[in-house]
Protein backbone atom coordinates (compact mmCIF):
# COMPACT_ATOMS: atom_id res chain seq x y z
CA UNK A 1 0.00 0.00 0.00
CA UNK A 2 1.36 3.39 -0.90
CA UNK A 3 1.32 5.89 1.89
CA UNK A 4 2.26 9.52 1.80
CA UNK A 5 0.80 12.77 0.58
CA UNK A 6 -0.63 13.26 -2.89
CA UNK A 7 2.56 15.00 -3.98
CA UNK A 8 4.78 12.26 -2.57
CA UNK A 9 2.77 9.65 -4.41
CA UNK A 10 2.95 11.58 -7.64
CA UNK A 11 6.71 11.90 -7.25
CA UNK A 12 7.10 8.21 -6.55
CA UNK A 13 4.95 7.25 -9.51
CA UNK A 14 6.77 9.65 -11.78
CA UNK A 15 10.12 8.21 -10.76
CA UNK A 16 8.83 4.78 -11.65
CA UNK A 17 7.22 5.74 -14.92
CA UNK A 18 10.19 7.72 -16.17
CA UNK A 19 12.71 5.06 -15.21
CA UNK A 20 14.09 4.28 -18.65
CA UNK A 21 15.86 1.14 -17.51
CA UNK A 22 12.65 -0.27 -16.19
CA UNK A 23 10.87 0.56 -19.40
CA UNK A 24 13.67 -1.01 -21.42
CA UNK A 25 13.39 -4.17 -19.32
CA UNK A 26 9.66 -4.44 -19.98
CA UNK A 27 10.05 -3.80 -23.68
CA UNK A 28 12.93 -6.24 -24.00
CA UNK A 29 11.04 -8.92 -22.09
CA UNK A 30 8.01 -8.63 -24.34
CA UNK A 31 10.04 -8.42 -27.51
CA UNK A 32 11.93 -11.54 -26.50
CA UNK A 33 8.60 -13.32 -26.49
CA UNK A 34 7.72 -12.04 -29.93
CA UNK A 35 5.82 -8.87 -29.08
CA UNK A 36 6.34 -5.78 -31.18
CA UNK A 37 7.84 -2.58 -29.77
CA UNK A 38 4.46 -0.86 -30.01
CA UNK A 39 2.68 -3.63 -28.15
CA UNK A 40 5.35 -3.48 -25.48
CA UNK A 41 4.86 0.28 -25.13
CA UNK A 42 1.12 -0.23 -24.73
CA UNK A 43 1.67 -2.98 -22.20
CA UNK A 44 4.03 -0.71 -20.25
CA UNK A 45 1.37 1.98 -19.98
CA UNK A 46 -1.43 -0.44 -19.14
CA UNK A 47 0.86 -2.23 -16.73
CA UNK A 48 1.68 1.03 -15.01
CA UNK A 49 -1.99 1.65 -14.28
CA UNK A 50 -2.55 -1.93 -13.14
CA UNK A 51 0.57 -1.68 -10.97
CA UNK A 52 -0.83 1.34 -9.16
CA UNK A 53 -4.17 -0.40 -8.67
CA UNK A 54 -2.43 -3.43 -7.21
CA UNK A 55 -0.45 -1.27 -4.83
CA UNK A 56 -3.63 0.48 -3.73
CA UNK A 57 -5.31 -2.84 -3.14
CA UNK A 58 -2.40 -4.14 -1.07
CA UNK A 59 -1.40 -6.78 -3.60
CA UNK A 60 2.31 -6.10 -3.29
CA UNK A 61 3.55 -8.22 -0.42
CA UNK A 62 7.28 -7.75 -0.82
CA UNK A 63 7.70 -11.29 -2.12
CA UNK A 64 9.69 -10.01 -5.05
CA UNK A 65 11.35 -6.70 -5.70
CA UNK A 66 9.01 -3.92 -6.70
CA UNK A 67 10.63 -3.76 -10.12
CA UNK A 68 10.12 -7.47 -10.69
CA UNK A 69 6.53 -7.05 -9.57
CA UNK A 70 6.09 -4.22 -12.05
CA UNK A 71 7.67 -6.07 -14.98
CA UNK A 72 5.50 -9.08 -14.19
CA UNK A 73 2.36 -6.97 -14.27
CA UNK A 74 3.28 -5.43 -17.61
CA UNK A 75 4.00 -8.86 -18.96
CA UNK A 76 0.64 -10.11 -17.71
CA UNK A 77 -1.06 -7.12 -19.33
CA UNK A 78 0.59 -8.02 -22.58
CA UNK A 79 -0.48 -11.67 -22.30
CA UNK A 80 -3.98 -10.60 -21.36
CA UNK A 81 -4.08 -8.28 -24.35
CA UNK A 82 -2.95 -11.13 -26.57
CA UNK A 83 -5.78 -13.30 -25.40
CA UNK A 84 -8.21 -10.54 -26.24
CA UNK A 85 -6.49 -9.90 -29.54
CA UNK A 86 -5.80 -6.30 -28.63
CA UNK A 87 -2.45 -6.67 -30.25
CA UNK A 88 -3.02 -7.85 -33.76
CA UNK A 89 0.50 -7.22 -34.88
CA UNK A 90 2.07 -9.70 -32.52
CA UNK A 91 3.51 -12.97 -33.71
CA UNK A 92 4.24 -15.29 -30.85
CA UNK A 93 7.54 -17.09 -30.73
CA UNK A 94 6.01 -19.94 -28.71
CA UNK A 95 2.57 -21.44 -28.93
CA UNK A 96 1.57 -20.40 -25.48
CA UNK A 97 3.30 -17.79 -23.42
CA UNK A 98 3.55 -18.08 -19.67
CA UNK A 99 5.14 -16.05 -16.95
CA UNK A 100 8.70 -16.86 -16.00
CA UNK A 101 9.23 -18.20 -12.46
CA UNK A 102 10.67 -14.85 -11.49
CA UNK A 103 7.20 -13.31 -11.77
CA UNK A 104 5.21 -15.97 -9.98
CA UNK A 105 4.23 -13.51 -7.26
CA UNK A 106 2.61 -11.11 -9.70
CA UNK A 107 -1.15 -11.03 -9.18
CA UNK A 108 -3.63 -11.62 -11.96
CA UNK A 109 -4.33 -8.37 -13.76
CA UNK A 110 -7.95 -7.74 -14.50
CA UNK A 111 -8.47 -5.58 -17.53
CA UNK A 112 -11.68 -3.73 -18.01
CA UNK A 113 -13.18 -3.99 -21.49
CA UNK A 114 -13.25 -0.81 -23.50
CA UNK A 115 -17.01 -1.05 -23.83
CA UNK A 116 -17.52 -1.24 -20.10
CA UNK A 117 -15.12 1.61 -19.52
CA UNK A 118 -17.04 3.72 -21.96
CA UNK A 119 -20.35 2.99 -20.17
CA UNK A 120 -18.78 3.76 -16.81
CA UNK A 121 -17.62 7.11 -18.13
CA UNK A 122 -21.24 7.89 -18.91
CA UNK A 123 -22.20 6.91 -15.38
CA UNK A 124 -19.45 9.12 -13.99
CA UNK A 125 -21.00 12.07 -15.75
CA UNK A 126 -24.00 11.63 -13.48
CA UNK A 127 -21.89 12.26 -10.39
CA UNK A 128 -21.04 15.65 -8.96
CA UNK A 129 -17.43 16.76 -8.48
CA UNK A 130 -17.47 16.37 -4.73
CA UNK A 131 -18.83 12.84 -5.01
CA UNK A 132 -16.15 11.95 -7.54
CA UNK A 133 -13.41 13.27 -5.28
CA UNK A 134 -14.66 11.46 -2.20
CA UNK A 135 -14.96 8.19 -4.10
CA UNK A 136 -11.59 8.47 -5.75
CA UNK A 137 -9.76 9.44 -2.57
CA UNK A 138 -11.41 6.55 -0.74
CA UNK A 139 -10.24 4.18 -3.46
CA UNK A 140 -6.75 5.61 -3.28
CA UNK A 141 -6.56 4.65 0.36
CA UNK A 142 -6.82 8.07 1.97
CA UNK A 143 -8.55 7.81 5.32
CA UNK A 144 -11.60 9.80 6.34
CA UNK A 145 -9.49 12.34 8.20
CA UNK A 146 -7.37 13.05 5.12
CA UNK A 147 -10.44 13.28 2.88
CA UNK A 148 -12.10 15.58 5.40
CA UNK A 149 -9.12 17.92 5.34
CA UNK A 150 -8.60 17.87 1.61
CA UNK A 151 -12.24 18.46 0.72
CA UNK A 152 -12.93 20.71 3.71
CA UNK A 153 -15.68 18.52 5.05
CA UNK A 154 -16.67 19.31 8.60
CA UNK A 155 -16.56 15.92 10.28
CA UNK A 156 -14.96 12.57 9.53
CA UNK A 157 -18.28 10.85 9.97
CA UNK A 158 -19.69 13.06 7.22
CA UNK A 159 -17.18 11.63 4.76
CA UNK A 160 -18.66 8.14 5.08
CA UNK A 161 -22.18 9.50 4.79
CA UNK A 162 -21.37 11.61 1.73
CA UNK A 163 -19.91 8.59 0.00
CA UNK A 164 -22.97 6.47 0.77
CA UNK A 165 -25.39 9.21 -0.25
CA UNK A 166 -23.57 9.83 -3.53
CA UNK A 167 -23.93 6.20 -4.52
CA UNK A 168 -27.56 5.99 -3.42
CA UNK A 169 -28.41 9.04 -5.50
CA UNK A 170 -26.52 7.58 -8.42
CA UNK A 171 -28.58 4.42 -8.13
CA UNK A 172 -31.74 6.50 -8.35
CA UNK A 173 -30.44 8.36 -11.38
CA UNK A 174 -29.52 5.11 -13.06
CA UNK A 175 -32.99 3.78 -12.43
CA UNK A 176 -34.29 6.57 -14.61
CA UNK A 177 -31.91 5.58 -17.43
CA UNK A 178 -32.90 2.01 -18.20
CA UNK A 179 -30.75 1.72 -21.34
CA UNK A 180 -27.56 2.67 -19.56
CA UNK A 181 -28.50 0.54 -16.59
CA UNK A 182 -29.13 -2.50 -18.76
CA UNK A 183 -25.88 -2.00 -20.66
CA UNK A 184 -23.96 -1.76 -17.42
CA UNK A 185 -25.39 -5.02 -16.22
CA UNK A 186 -24.65 -6.78 -19.49
CA UNK A 187 -21.03 -5.70 -19.75
CA UNK A 188 -18.65 -7.37 -17.41
CA UNK A 189 -14.91 -7.32 -17.35
CA UNK A 190 -12.97 -8.26 -20.44
Amino acid sequence: MIRGSEQERANALKAFFTDQQLKATVIRKIQQKGGSANDAQDAFQEGFKAFYRHLLNGKFEGRSSLRTFFVGICFRCWLDGLKKSFYQRTTLTDKEETLDDEYEHTPETRMMSRERKSQLQKVLALLGDRCKKVIMMGYEGYNSEEIKQKLEIEAEEAVRKIRYRCMTKLKEKLASQPTLNALLKSLSYG
Binding site: K14, A15, F16, Q21, K49, L56, R116, M167, L184
Partner: protein, 329 residues
Protein backbone atom coordinates in the same frame (compact mmCIF):
# COMPACT_ATOMS: atom_id res chain seq x y z
CA UNK B 1 -25.32 -1.33 11.51
CA UNK B 2 -26.27 1.89 9.69
CA UNK B 3 -26.21 1.92 5.90
CA UNK B 4 -23.12 4.10 5.59
CA UNK B 5 -21.19 1.71 7.83
CA UNK B 6 -22.47 -1.27 5.90
CA UNK B 7 -21.38 0.43 2.68
CA UNK B 8 -17.90 0.82 4.07
CA UNK B 9 -17.79 -2.75 5.29
CA UNK B 10 -18.87 -4.07 1.91
CA UNK B 11 -16.11 -2.03 0.33
CA UNK B 12 -13.58 -3.67 2.64
CA UNK B 13 -15.16 -7.04 1.86
CA UNK B 14 -14.64 -6.59 -1.86
CA UNK B 15 -11.09 -5.45 -1.32
CA UNK B 16 -10.46 -8.51 0.84
CA UNK B 17 -9.22 -6.39 3.70
CA UNK B 18 -11.45 -7.92 6.40
CA UNK B 19 -10.24 -10.73 8.59
CA UNK B 20 -11.60 -14.21 7.95
CA UNK B 21 -14.35 -14.03 10.58
CA UNK B 22 -15.64 -10.67 9.38
CA UNK B 23 -15.43 -11.79 5.79
CA UNK B 24 -17.62 -14.81 6.59
CA UNK B 25 -20.03 -12.65 8.54
CA UNK B 26 -20.46 -10.25 5.64
CA UNK B 27 -20.82 -13.13 3.20
CA UNK B 28 -23.64 -14.48 5.29
CA UNK B 29 -25.34 -11.09 5.32
CA UNK B 30 -25.11 -10.85 1.55
CA UNK B 31 -26.55 -14.32 1.08
CA UNK B 32 -29.42 -13.79 3.49
CA UNK B 33 -30.48 -10.22 2.74
CA UNK B 34 -31.31 -9.04 -0.77
CA UNK B 35 -30.90 -5.37 0.19
CA UNK B 36 -27.35 -6.09 1.26
CA UNK B 37 -26.72 -7.96 -1.99
CA UNK B 38 -28.00 -4.92 -3.91
CA UNK B 39 -25.84 -2.68 -1.81
CA UNK B 40 -22.85 -4.86 -2.67
CA UNK B 41 -23.51 -4.31 -6.36
CA UNK B 42 -23.54 -0.58 -5.71
CA UNK B 43 -20.20 -0.76 -3.91
CA UNK B 44 -18.81 -2.81 -6.77
CA UNK B 45 -19.95 -0.12 -9.17
CA UNK B 46 -18.35 2.51 -6.97
CA UNK B 47 -15.03 0.69 -7.11
CA UNK B 48 -15.21 0.42 -10.87
CA UNK B 49 -15.98 4.10 -11.17
CA UNK B 50 -13.03 4.90 -8.92
CA UNK B 51 -10.86 2.67 -11.06
CA UNK B 52 -11.87 4.54 -14.20
CA UNK B 53 -11.16 7.87 -12.52
CA UNK B 54 -7.76 6.72 -11.29
CA UNK B 55 -6.95 5.39 -14.76
CA UNK B 56 -7.90 8.71 -16.28
CA UNK B 57 -5.79 10.55 -13.76
CA UNK B 58 -2.83 8.31 -14.53
CA UNK B 59 -3.36 8.71 -18.28
CA UNK B 60 -3.14 12.43 -17.78
CA UNK B 61 -0.05 12.16 -15.62
CA UNK B 62 1.66 9.84 -18.09
CA UNK B 63 0.88 12.22 -20.92
CA UNK B 64 2.41 15.09 -18.98
CA UNK B 65 5.53 13.09 -18.08
CA UNK B 66 5.96 11.97 -21.67
CA UNK B 67 5.64 15.55 -22.89
CA UNK B 68 8.05 16.74 -20.25
CA UNK B 69 10.55 14.08 -21.25
CA UNK B 70 10.29 14.93 -24.93
CA UNK B 71 10.65 18.70 -24.50
CA UNK B 72 14.24 19.68 -25.41
CA UNK B 73 14.69 21.85 -22.32
CA UNK B 74 13.75 19.03 -20.04
CA UNK B 75 15.94 16.36 -21.52
CA UNK B 76 19.00 17.11 -19.43
CA UNK B 77 16.96 17.12 -16.24
CA UNK B 78 14.72 14.18 -16.85
CA UNK B 79 16.97 11.93 -18.83
CA UNK B 80 17.46 8.66 -17.01
CA UNK B 81 20.05 8.79 -14.30
CA UNK B 82 20.16 5.20 -13.31
CA UNK B 83 22.02 5.74 -10.14
CA UNK B 84 22.66 9.39 -9.88
CA UNK B 85 21.64 10.63 -6.48
CA UNK B 86 19.29 13.50 -5.98
CA UNK B 87 22.05 16.08 -5.79
CA UNK B 88 23.72 17.64 -7.87
CA UNK B 89 24.09 15.26 -10.73
CA UNK B 90 26.69 14.31 -13.22
CA UNK B 91 28.14 17.76 -13.87
CA UNK B 92 29.65 17.91 -10.43
CA UNK B 93 30.74 14.31 -10.68
CA UNK B 94 32.54 14.70 -13.97
CA UNK B 95 33.91 18.03 -12.84
CA UNK B 96 35.40 16.20 -9.88
CA UNK B 97 36.85 13.59 -12.18
CA UNK B 98 38.52 16.31 -14.27
CA UNK B 99 39.94 17.94 -11.16
CA UNK B 100 41.40 14.62 -10.12
CA UNK B 101 42.93 14.08 -13.51
CA UNK B 102 44.50 17.54 -13.35
CA UNK B 103 45.69 16.72 -9.85
CA UNK B 104 47.23 13.48 -10.97
CA UNK B 105 49.16 15.23 -13.72
CA UNK B 106 50.30 17.92 -11.28
CA UNK B 107 51.36 15.47 -8.62
CA UNK B 108 53.12 13.21 -11.07
CA UNK B 109 55.29 16.12 -12.33
CA UNK B 110 58.54 15.64 -10.44
CA UNK B 111 59.88 18.61 -8.48
CA UNK B 112 63.67 18.99 -8.07
CA UNK B 113 63.42 17.59 -4.55
CA UNK B 114 61.40 14.65 -5.70
CA UNK B 115 63.82 13.96 -8.51
CA UNK B 116 66.57 13.83 -5.95
CA UNK B 117 64.71 11.40 -3.78
CA UNK B 118 63.23 9.20 -6.45
CA UNK B 119 64.76 6.08 -4.99
CA UNK B 120 63.21 6.70 -1.61
CA UNK B 121 59.79 7.27 -3.13
CA UNK B 122 60.02 4.10 -5.13
CA UNK B 123 60.71 2.18 -1.97
CA UNK B 124 57.35 3.22 -0.50
CA UNK B 125 54.85 0.40 -0.24
CA UNK B 126 52.09 0.49 -2.83
CA UNK B 127 49.24 2.67 -1.73
CA UNK B 128 45.96 1.09 -0.76
CA UNK B 129 43.53 3.96 -0.62
CA UNK B 130 40.71 1.45 -0.70
CA UNK B 131 41.24 0.39 2.87
CA UNK B 132 41.21 3.12 5.48
CA UNK B 133 40.57 5.95 3.09
CA UNK B 134 37.14 4.55 2.44
CA UNK B 135 36.41 5.03 6.09
CA UNK B 136 34.09 2.07 6.60
CA UNK B 137 30.91 2.67 8.47
CA UNK B 138 30.73 1.99 12.19
CA UNK B 139 29.76 -1.64 11.85
CA UNK B 140 32.01 -2.39 8.92
CA UNK B 141 35.08 -4.53 9.48
CA UNK B 142 38.33 -2.63 9.76
CA UNK B 143 40.79 -5.38 8.94
CA UNK B 144 41.85 -3.71 5.68
CA UNK B 145 43.44 -0.72 7.38
CA UNK B 146 46.80 -2.28 8.13
CA UNK B 147 48.79 -1.43 5.01
CA UNK B 148 47.99 2.26 5.08
CA UNK B 149 51.11 4.39 4.50
CA UNK B 150 51.48 7.11 7.14
CA UNK B 151 51.50 9.90 4.55
CA UNK B 152 47.96 9.05 3.54
CA UNK B 153 46.65 8.86 7.04
CA UNK B 154 47.14 12.57 7.46
CA UNK B 155 44.88 13.40 4.56
CA UNK B 156 41.88 11.17 4.63
CA UNK B 157 39.58 10.89 1.68
CA UNK B 158 35.87 11.45 2.17
CA UNK B 159 33.86 8.31 2.75
CA UNK B 160 31.93 7.07 -0.29
CA UNK B 161 28.76 6.83 1.77
CA UNK B 162 28.68 10.62 2.09
CA UNK B 163 26.85 11.23 -1.14
CA UNK B 164 26.57 14.97 -0.53
CA UNK B 165 30.28 15.58 -0.82
CA UNK B 166 30.42 14.30 -4.40
CA UNK B 167 34.19 14.65 -4.17
CA UNK B 168 36.21 11.59 -4.97
CA UNK B 169 38.96 10.64 -2.54
CA UNK B 170 42.01 12.70 -3.39
CA UNK B 171 45.42 11.22 -3.95
CA UNK B 172 47.19 12.27 -0.82
CA UNK B 173 50.82 11.44 -1.22
CA UNK B 174 53.27 13.29 -3.40
CA UNK B 175 54.64 10.10 -4.83
CA UNK B 176 53.81 9.08 -8.37
CA UNK B 177 50.47 7.31 -8.38
CA UNK B 178 50.36 3.76 -9.62
CA UNK B 179 48.10 3.34 -12.68
CA UNK B 180 45.74 1.04 -10.80
CA UNK B 181 45.52 3.58 -8.02
CA UNK B 182 44.55 6.33 -10.44
CA UNK B 183 41.93 4.09 -11.97
CA UNK B 184 40.67 3.33 -8.51
CA UNK B 185 40.27 7.04 -7.81
CA UNK B 186 38.22 7.49 -10.95
CA UNK B 187 36.06 4.49 -10.15
CA UNK B 188 35.49 5.70 -6.61
CA UNK B 189 34.44 9.07 -7.95
CA UNK B 190 31.72 7.38 -9.95
CA UNK B 191 30.84 4.79 -7.31
CA UNK B 192 30.38 7.37 -4.58
CA UNK B 193 27.86 9.15 -6.77
CA UNK B 194 25.96 6.00 -7.47
CA UNK B 195 22.81 5.30 -5.49
CA UNK B 196 22.27 1.58 -5.76
CA UNK B 197 19.32 1.63 -3.41
CA UNK B 198 17.72 4.45 -5.40
CA UNK B 199 15.43 1.91 -7.06
CA UNK B 200 13.22 1.76 -4.00
CA UNK B 201 10.94 4.47 -5.15
CA UNK B 202 7.68 3.90 -3.42
CA UNK B 203 7.26 5.72 -0.20
CA UNK B 204 6.34 3.33 2.56
CA UNK B 205 6.00 4.82 5.97
CA UNK B 206 6.05 2.82 9.15
CA UNK B 207 6.12 -0.89 9.80
CA UNK B 208 3.33 -3.06 8.47
CA UNK B 209 1.71 -5.74 10.64
CA UNK B 210 3.44 -9.14 10.43
CA UNK B 211 6.19 -7.66 8.34
CA UNK B 212 8.60 -10.25 6.99
CA UNK B 213 12.36 -9.59 7.28
CA UNK B 214 12.48 -9.09 3.51
CA UNK B 215 9.63 -6.58 3.52
CA UNK B 216 11.13 -4.83 6.52
CA UNK B 217 14.56 -4.63 4.91
CA UNK B 218 13.03 -3.31 1.71
CA UNK B 219 11.04 -0.69 3.58
CA UNK B 220 14.02 0.45 5.64
CA UNK B 221 16.15 0.61 2.54
CA UNK B 222 13.53 2.87 0.96
CA UNK B 223 13.65 5.03 4.07
CA UNK B 224 17.41 5.30 3.74
CA UNK B 225 18.09 3.39 6.97
CA UNK B 226 20.73 1.22 5.43
CA UNK B 227 22.23 -0.27 8.60
CA UNK B 228 18.83 -1.31 9.91
CA UNK B 229 17.84 -2.63 6.50
CA UNK B 230 21.02 -4.68 6.43
CA UNK B 231 20.22 -6.26 9.83
CA UNK B 232 16.71 -7.15 8.69
CA UNK B 233 17.83 -8.60 5.37
CA UNK B 234 20.49 -10.74 7.01
CA UNK B 235 17.67 -12.50 8.85
CA UNK B 236 16.09 -13.88 5.67
CA UNK B 237 16.84 -17.62 5.89
CA UNK B 238 18.71 -19.30 3.08
CA UNK B 239 16.02 -21.97 2.95
CA UNK B 240 13.59 -19.40 1.54
CA UNK B 241 15.44 -19.56 -1.69
CA UNK B 242 13.69 -16.88 -3.71
CA UNK B 243 13.37 -14.44 -0.87
CA UNK B 244 16.94 -15.14 0.12
CA UNK B 245 18.21 -14.20 -3.33
CA UNK B 246 16.07 -11.09 -3.23
CA UNK B 247 17.52 -10.18 0.17
CA UNK B 248 21.02 -10.85 -1.12
CA UNK B 249 20.50 -8.44 -3.97
CA UNK B 250 19.34 -5.70 -1.63
CA UNK B 251 22.30 -6.41 0.64
CA UNK B 252 24.67 -6.07 -2.29
CA UNK B 253 23.14 -2.70 -3.14
CA UNK B 254 23.42 -1.57 0.47
CA UNK B 255 27.06 -2.66 0.77
CA UNK B 256 27.83 -0.97 -2.50
CA UNK B 257 26.20 2.24 -1.40
CA UNK B 258 28.01 2.16 1.91
CA UNK B 259 31.31 1.73 0.09
CA UNK B 260 31.79 -1.79 1.45
CA UNK B 261 32.79 -3.12 -1.92
CA UNK B 262 34.53 -6.21 -0.61
CA UNK B 263 31.19 -7.35 0.72
CA UNK B 264 29.17 -6.42 -2.35
CA UNK B 265 31.50 -8.19 -4.77
CA UNK B 266 30.83 -11.87 -3.88
CA UNK B 267 27.07 -11.33 -3.83
CA UNK B 268 27.06 -9.50 -7.14
CA UNK B 269 29.31 -12.14 -8.68
CA UNK B 270 26.88 -14.82 -7.62
CA UNK B 271 23.72 -13.03 -8.71
CA UNK B 272 25.06 -11.93 -12.08
CA UNK B 273 25.95 -15.56 -12.76
CA UNK B 274 22.36 -16.50 -12.00
CA UNK B 275 21.12 -13.89 -14.43
CA UNK B 276 18.94 -12.44 -11.69
CA UNK B 277 16.78 -9.35 -12.16
CA UNK B 278 18.36 -5.89 -12.60
CA UNK B 279 21.24 -7.60 -14.32
CA UNK B 280 22.47 -4.41 -16.00
CA UNK B 281 22.71 -2.54 -12.71
CA UNK B 282 24.42 -5.40 -10.97
CA UNK B 283 27.04 -5.79 -13.70
CA UNK B 284 27.77 -2.08 -13.49
CA UNK B 285 28.03 -2.08 -9.70
CA UNK B 286 30.24 -5.14 -9.86
CA UNK B 287 32.62 -3.49 -12.32
CA UNK B 288 32.77 -0.39 -10.13
CA UNK B 289 33.32 -2.48 -7.01
CA UNK B 290 36.20 -4.31 -8.68
CA UNK B 291 37.80 -1.07 -9.80
CA UNK B 292 37.27 0.56 -6.42
CA UNK B 293 39.14 -2.26 -4.75
CA UNK B 294 41.88 -2.52 -7.37
CA UNK B 295 40.63 -5.95 -8.30
CA UNK B 296 42.32 -7.08 -11.56
CA UNK B 297 38.97 -8.12 -12.98
CA UNK B 298 37.82 -4.50 -12.94
CA UNK B 299 38.87 -3.23 -16.36
CA UNK B 300 37.61 -6.30 -18.16
CA UNK B 301 34.27 -6.07 -16.36
CA UNK B 302 33.99 -2.38 -17.22
CA UNK B 303 34.73 -3.04 -20.89
CA UNK B 304 32.10 -5.73 -20.88
CA UNK B 305 29.54 -3.29 -19.51
CA UNK B 306 30.39 -0.76 -22.23
CA UNK B 307 29.70 -3.30 -24.95
CA UNK B 308 27.18 -5.72 -23.52
CA UNK B 309 25.02 -3.93 -20.99
CA UNK B 310 21.34 -4.03 -21.80
CA UNK B 311 20.94 -0.53 -20.45
CA UNK B 312 22.01 2.26 -22.82
CA UNK B 313 22.35 4.70 -19.90
CA UNK B 314 24.67 2.41 -18.01
CA UNK B 315 26.63 1.71 -21.18
CA UNK B 316 27.09 5.42 -21.65
CA UNK B 317 28.24 5.98 -18.09
CA UNK B 318 30.61 3.04 -18.28
CA UNK B 319 32.01 4.34 -21.55
CA UNK B 320 32.65 7.75 -20.00
CA UNK B 321 34.56 6.11 -17.18
CA UNK B 322 36.52 3.96 -19.60
CA UNK B 323 37.44 7.03 -21.64
CA UNK B 324 38.69 8.75 -18.50
CA UNK B 325 40.73 5.70 -17.62
CA UNK B 326 42.19 5.48 -21.11
CA UNK B 327 43.12 9.15 -20.93
CA UNK B 328 45.34 8.33 -17.95
CA UNK B 329 47.75 6.32 -20.10
Amino acid sequence: MDKATLHEKLDAYLKGSLDAAEQAEVRQLIDSDKDVADQLELVRLEQELAEVMVDEKLDEMMRAWNEEASSPAAISDTAPKPKAGSFPGQWVMWGSVLIICAGLVFWSWPSPQETASTDAVNEDPPSSVQSEDREPSVDAPTEAATSEPPAQETKKAPAPAKKESKTPPPVASAKEPQPSEAIQQLALAVATNTRATGGTYIIRKGAQPNESPLAKGYRLMGEGKLDEAESALLKVPEAQERRYLNAQQYLAFIYFEKGEYEKSIPILENLTQLNYSQQAEMEWYLALSYLATENPKGLEALKQVTTESTSPEIQEEAQQLLDEINALD
